[in-house]
Amino acid sequence: MSMKVKTRQVDGVTILDLSGRITLGEGSVTVRDAVRDAVAKGSNKILLNLGEISYIDSSGIGELVSAFTTVKNGGGELKLLNLTKKVHDLLQITKLYTVFDVKDDEAAAIASFTK
């Protein structure tokens, strides 16, 4: 299943609805390009909705980390929304769960960004 991204704007937050697999190659590149595109358009509040992500490998994890640091270093915030159990477990194992700001409710996630 190929990686797909849909972009929405809600109350100043750019929401990227991701679906498919974030793996080495197309999946990771798609996420990288989507985040870079959002940043290039001036977004500094980015919410990655991972609710439809069926699989992620070490490359995909690395891509999420890179996206997080890229946005953070630019003075913005990147948060994760709706982790599946598989992604949740991977972030726990790699001790990244506490690095990311992880949310499970979209409205609460949007409200949590710095005004």
Binding site: T23, L24, G25, Y55, D57, S58, S59, I61, G62, E63, V65, S66, F68, T69, K86, L90, I93, T94, K95, L96, V99
Partner: protein, 183 residues
């Protein structure tokens, strides 16, 4: 996972080179191998050689998932095994062979009554596993790469490295438990 129509295409594709196989599952048909029933139904083996590409990584992952399922591992463990094998294949293709089209990766799967064992080898310059930084260390936690071997070790019961001339072989072992069929 494996469509009947795919077999012919694989047989015609010179990139898929046959080694040996003693298994009677769909993976064997997919790779164009003979199907031989073994006296011990708990034992099966498949080995093959692939080119250094992302397509090969995906195929190895598919076979790992099928082998682990047939070995009776549960629905939580099968994806872990498949991911560990995928990461091993990624390392072989990228870090070992550097996508070199003249180099190949060798992969073998063997299920016995006690364990599933997977060998993945490359033809690269070799790997010192002790030189890999700890991805959990604070100075590495925000690195964009370097978690593959860590995940392999997290998901498998045993992980061994063997230096080849040239290349590296990684051996992954997942023990079967008494609750699994044939174990």
């Amino acid at each position: 996972m494996f469509r009947a129509g795919a077999t012919v295409r694989c047989l015609d594709n010179p990139r898929w080179r046959k080694h040996t196989a003693n298994t009677g599952d769909q993976a064997a048909r997919h790779f164009g191998y003979a199907r031989n029933a073994l006296p011990d139904s708990t034992t099966s083996r498949l080995s093959f050689t692939l080119e250094s590409s992302l397509e090969s990584v995906n195929k190895v992952e598919q076979v790992a998932e099928e082998f682990a399922t047939k070995a009776g591992f549960d629905e939580d463990t099968v994806p872990h095994i498949a991911m560990a094998v995928r990461e091993a294949a990624v390392n072989a293709v990228i870090h070992g062979n550097s996508y070199d089209a003249t180099k190949h990766i060798n992969v073998s799967f063997e299920t016995t009554a006690s364990a599933l064992t997977v060998h993945v080898s490359d033809e690269g310059r070799g790997l010192d596993p002790d030189s890999i930084p700890d991805p959990l260390a604070p100075e590495n936690i925000l690195r964009g790469s370097g978690r593959g071997i860590f995940l392999i070790r997290a998901f498998m019961d045993e992980v061994h490295f063997r230096q080849l001339q040239p290349g590296t072989e990684i051996i992954l072992i997942k023990n079967r438990t008494a609750a699994q069929p044939g174990a």
